[in-house]
């Protein structure tokens, strides 16, 4: 069990998808039950991972290793190689939790082509988990790309009126980024061969050679990876696919898109960009450019959110703003910033996931997301209004809830690096409060002005159930975040150490001649098995 737990978690949803294929199409309720059982099962079997991981949270390197670096395609040196550290652990738990919640939330929302919907959703779940678990670049890339297909279909088949446009845009944008990334991966792979005469895609192995690439080449590789990840995050100039995809996607699709898919970009920064190109990311010019884009994203996303008439679009743009905080924390390049960023990624998954569920619930009842259509909902749906308030407060970063912890740590990290960055980011927090409270005011307060809203029924038990775990997590992270910091401590310190060892910010011109004479000793994880 211990040895194969990652594989079990990874393939449980896929197994469910295959099982679903044999359930007759007409029996919609049976399909829903089976899908929900597998989704819940997928979450439950990931729970034993928590105590197991907790026991070894301070140990260096990747844990729960599986496979070797060339047991899959020996001819090219690709292996089915899995392993996690604190960062991927948190994101995996987030994925299994959100996967279950979003499948639960689609019980009544999806009425046609039910079977395929759940099949694709479960396949998507496996793809996302694979991205976070893979320790082999080839395997990583296969999951990274394969996951696009189910998401494309979820948007394209079960989406809103402009679904075709949104689905194709989503697919093309992300594919552009990922093929550029592929070129970067291939370069690293070939570079490893020139240095060691071994072709391998093993990520721990590449950690050893990638930082040795001279600065003038590494900068281009960084750009290739950066575009790939920045599109996924999405960072400011690459974000235009996001509002379209979110608005058109079905509710559960939006939850997963915001909760997990966007995290792949930030995860890519943390897992690859930083340790592979420490010399580039710590170069003052590169760092300030990326930070500038993050700050623009924070402010721009918040301002655009303020002006939205469509609730879902508002939440979508707020993601751009929140993810700006995450990238700000990452590129502050200190442990506070990185820890805060990873924590904030989890927080964003929880609170924005919940926000999309909230929008989805109203949409399912009224089939409109136009803010002007609503008003005074709190008198009709009091429980719903309460839950919404909690999640809004969590999203805007009120103390005692999860958002505060993440944003505060990020700002702390940014402040340590450069106080101006923190000063520019801080208005983002204020603006978040503004657009969310204003939205709340318009939708929930006052008297019911629209007669169509008078008969709305409050949350059903199933809907309440989708929010319970999210609220528990929000309170836990908000009140007692210490365990999360402990889990992140070791991997974050390792990355910061790598950057510290390899950066030479004072003399970029000398970056070609590296001071690290003995690369074996200095670089990152000795985690290879």
């Amino acid at each position: 069990m211990q040895n194969h737990i990652l594989s079990i978690i990874l393939f449980a949803p896929l197994f469910g998808a295959i099982f679903l294929l044999f359930v007759p199409k007409e029996n919609k309720n049976a399909i829903r039950w089976v899908a929900n059982i597998f989704a819940l099962g997928g979450f439950l079997i990931s729970i034993p991972l928590v105590p197991m991981f907790w026991a070894q949270r301070y140990e260096p390197g990747f844990k729960f290793l599986e496979g070797t670096s060339n047991n899959w395609i020996p001819s090219i040196g690709a292996g089915y190689n899995l392993g996690i550290d604190g960062i991927s652990f948190l994101l995996i738990m987030l994925t299994t939790l959100l996967g279950w919640i979003s499948i639960l939330s689609s019980w009544t929302a999806i009425e046609n082509r039910v079977k395929e919907y759940y099949v694709w959703f479960l396949v998507l779940q496996t793809g996302m988990l694979g991205v976070f678990m893979a320790l082999d670049f080839f395997l990583f890339f296969v999951f990274w790309e394969a996951m696009l297909v189910p998401m494309y279909l979820l948007i394209g088949i079960w989406g809103g009126p402009r679904k075709l446009y949104a689905a194709i845009k989503f697919f093309l944008y992300t594919l552009l980024g990922s093929i550029l990334m592929l070129l970067g991966i291939l370069f690293l792979y070939f570079h490893h061969h020139t240095l060691t005469n071994v072709f391998t895609f093993s990520i721990p192995e590449l950690y050893k050679t990638a930082p040795l690439i001279p600065f003038n080449i590494a900068i281009w590789l960084f750009v290739a990876f950066f575009i790939g990840f920045a599109i996924k995050v999405p960072m400011f100039p690459f974000h235009t696919w996001l509002p379209d995809a979110h608005v058109e996607a079905p509710t559960a699709g939006s939850v997963i898109l915001a909760g997990v898919l966007l995290k792949m970009g930030t995860y890519g920064f943390v897992r690859f960009s930083l340790p592979f190109f420490p010399g580039v990311v710590s170069h003052p010019k590169v760092q300030s450019w990326v930070i500038a884009l993050s700050l623009i994203g924070i402010i721009y996303g918040a301002l655009v959110s303020l002006m939205q008439k469509d609730m879902k679009k508002l939440v979508a743009y707020s993601s751009v703003s929140h993810l700006g905080f995450c990238t700000l924390g990452i590129f502050a390049l200190n442990s506070a910033g990185l820890t805060g960023s990873v924590l904030q990624q989890v927080n964003h998954g929880i609170s924005t996931g919940a926000l999309f569920l909230i929008v989805g619930i109203l949409y399912e009842r009224r089939h409109t997301r136009d803010i002007a259509e609503y008003g005074g909902i709190s008198t009709v749906m009091p429980l719903y209004a309460t839950i919404t308030m909690i999640m809004f407060l969590s999203s805007m970063g009120l103390p005692l809830l999860n958002g505060f912890v993440g944003e505060f740590t990020i700002l702390q990290g940014a402040f340590t690096a450069n106080w101006k960055w923190a000063a520019w980011a801080a208005p983002g927090v204020v603006l978040a409060a503004a657009y969310l409270l204003w939205l709340y005011q318009r939708v929930f307060f006052g008297t019911v002005t629209n007669p169509k809203n008078e008969k709305l029924h409050d949350l059903t038990p199933r809907e309440i159930l989708t929010f319970v775990p999210l609220i528990i997590m929000a309170l836990w992270i908000g009140l007692y975040p210490k365990p999360f910091f402990q889990i992140l401590e070791q991997p974050v310190n390792q990355i910061v150490q790598t950057i510290h060892d390899n950066s030479n910010p004072n003399s970029p011109a000398n970056a070609n001649v590296r001071p690290t004479a003995d690369p074996h000793k200095s670089i990152v994880a000795k985690a290879s098995n």
Partner: protein, 491 residues
């Protein structure tokens, strides 16, 4: 050995001419012929490790040739499976169809194994003439007739140019054998005008046969007009044969001239990707769209050829470029035939089935076929875990290894365009409402064809090791990796 294969085919062909009353028996006979030929190749494969030369040094059966032979036979077998029902619907079920199909395979085999330009040329013509007839096989269809005529005229012209180039090489070397030509050419200054003219005319013929821009005009018309099963066969087997011939002549024969022809190939590759991808964007006919897409794939393969042409033999770039072309052809055979098989199955009583609109709502009419078509399309677009990704992987890898970052980036942009037009088909199939509501009836042979190609596409994609091993085997590449400690390079 070789004689055996060809004789076996020949005898089968004569047999095939005779029975006319039970038409489906022709298909079965042809299928058995292909299977028997494959068995013979299997025998040869274990008998000759180094390769054998026959027919007065004109034929060389080496592992390279055997790899291609298997490819041709697989394509022919799948095409036969696709054909039976289709020909019934078209009311053109004749034995000649299968006979010509097999004859063209014999021609292809000569092209892949020939090391004498005369034999290569004969093989080429045998294949080409058979396919001219097959393209025009739907006698009552005007598009088919037009396509055949166009293909014939352009094809004959290009063969003439090709023969002219080869004759100049004969003049230079005094021999028609590729080895003698290589020896003579390497003694010459590569920029000798006669040599350059000979090279360019030969290349014109070769590029015409693989349908590279600007010699591609015949392809969309011929692909659209031909019976759909033949279109599928042409787009994979004929193309693979042309590639085998191109590799034989340019790599085995004229490699000393690579400094001359590689720049030309670069330009042709860029033109091919650009022209084909942009033309494919606007197509509303599925067959035509896939025709342009297959031209675009030629462009990608030419990129790998550029990587080979600009690096020394023995380097990883050369090996990976070579492997890339062969693997691409291998996976392309299955995924493209699969896609054409699905299109062929759309041909029902009163529907031609080659317009994009005919694809609409295919999911409701035939869920399995639509799901597999999605797999083929994703594979063509190079999305893992479908097999097409493997081909793309090798091509990008060889470009990176030989330092062609610009060409690699261009490849990225064009694969995006590619995805866009493949998604157009996918959208029609999965998302749009169907125009007809009746379920699609699919014949057993067609089911086998689609199933086999889909299985191959998926298996090669998920577990590519055997495919890579077989290509390594055919190129005689032995994997040797000895690790040495990391040494930083200083530039």
């Amino acid at each position: 050995m070789v004689e055996l294969t060809i004789f076996a085919l020949g005898i089968l062909l004569i047999d095939l001419m005779v029975p006319r009353d039970w038409k489906w028996i022709n298909g079965v006979g042809a299928f058995i012929g292909v299977a028997f030929a494959a068995l013979c190749v299997w025998e040869i494969q274990s008998m000759s490790p180094g390769g054998a030369v026959g027919f007065y040094n004109s034929l060389q059966v080496d592992r390279f040739a055997i790899f291609f032979w298997y490819l041709f036979l697989a394509a022919a077998a799948i095409a036969i499976l696709m054909s039976a029902r289709y020909l019934d619907i078209e009311e053109e079920h004749h034995g000649e169809y299968y006979a010509l199909l097999l004859l063209s395979v014999v021609g292809m085999m000569c092209m892949a194994a020939g090391i004498d330009v005369v034999l290569i040329f004969i093989g080429l013509e045998l294949m080409a003439i058979s396919t001219y007839v097959l393209v025009g096989f739907l006698r009552r269809d005007r598009r088919s007739n037009e396509a055949a005529l166009k293909y014939l005229l352009l094809g004959a012209f290009s063969s003439g140019v090709f023969a002219y180039g080869l004759s100049l090489f004969y003049g230079i070397a005094g021999s028609t054998n590729l080895r003698d030509i290589q020896r003579a050419v390497s003694a010459q200054n590569p920029h000798n005008p006669v040599l350059v003219i000979a090279l360019l005319t030969t290349m014109t013929g070769l590029l015409f046969k693989i349908a590279a821009v600007p010699f591609h005009q015949w392809a969309p018309d011929a692909y659209e007009g031909a019976p759909t099963s033949i279109t599928g066969f042409m787009s994979v087997a004929v193309k693979a044969a042309a590639w085998a011939m191109l590799l034989r002549i340019l790599v085995f024969g004229l490699f000393p001239l690579r400094s001359v022809y590689t720049p030309v190939i670069v330009i042709v590759a860029i033109a091919t990707m650009t022209g084909a991808n942009f033309a494919a964007l606007t197509q509303s006919n599925t067959k035509r769209l896939l025709a342009y897409s297959s031209i675009a794939h030629v462009g990608y393969m030419l990129l790998a050829f550029v990587a080979m042409g600009t690096s020394q033999p023995g380097t990883p770039a050369f090996a990976d470029g070579f492997k890339g072309i062969l693997i691409y052809l291998l996976v392309y055979t299955f995924m493209n035939l699969g896609a054409f098989a699905v299109i062929t199955s759309l041909r029902q009583g009163n529907v031609i089935g080659d317009e994009l609109d005919d694809m609409a709502g295919l999911y409701q009419r035939a869920p399995v076929e639509a799901a597999l078509m999605l797999l083929f399309l994703l594979s063509l677009a190079g999305i893992p875990p479908a097999a097409g990704f493997l081909g793309k992987y090798y091509i990008f890898l060889s470009l990176i290894e030989s330092g062609h970052y610009g060409l690699a980036s261009l490849g990225v942009i064009y694969s995006l365009l590619g995805l866009y037009y493949y998604l157009k088909i996918a959208n029609a199939m999965l998302i749009r409402a169907p125009m007809e509501t009746e379920r699609l009836s699919v014949s057993l042979g067609m089911r086998c064809a689609v199933g086999v190609t889909a299985l191959a596409t998926l298996v090669i994609g998920i577990y590519p090791e055997p495919a890579i091993q077989s290509v390594n085997w055919s190129l005689g590449i032995v994997k040797s990796q000895t690790a040495r400690p990391i040494r930083p390079i200083r530039r």
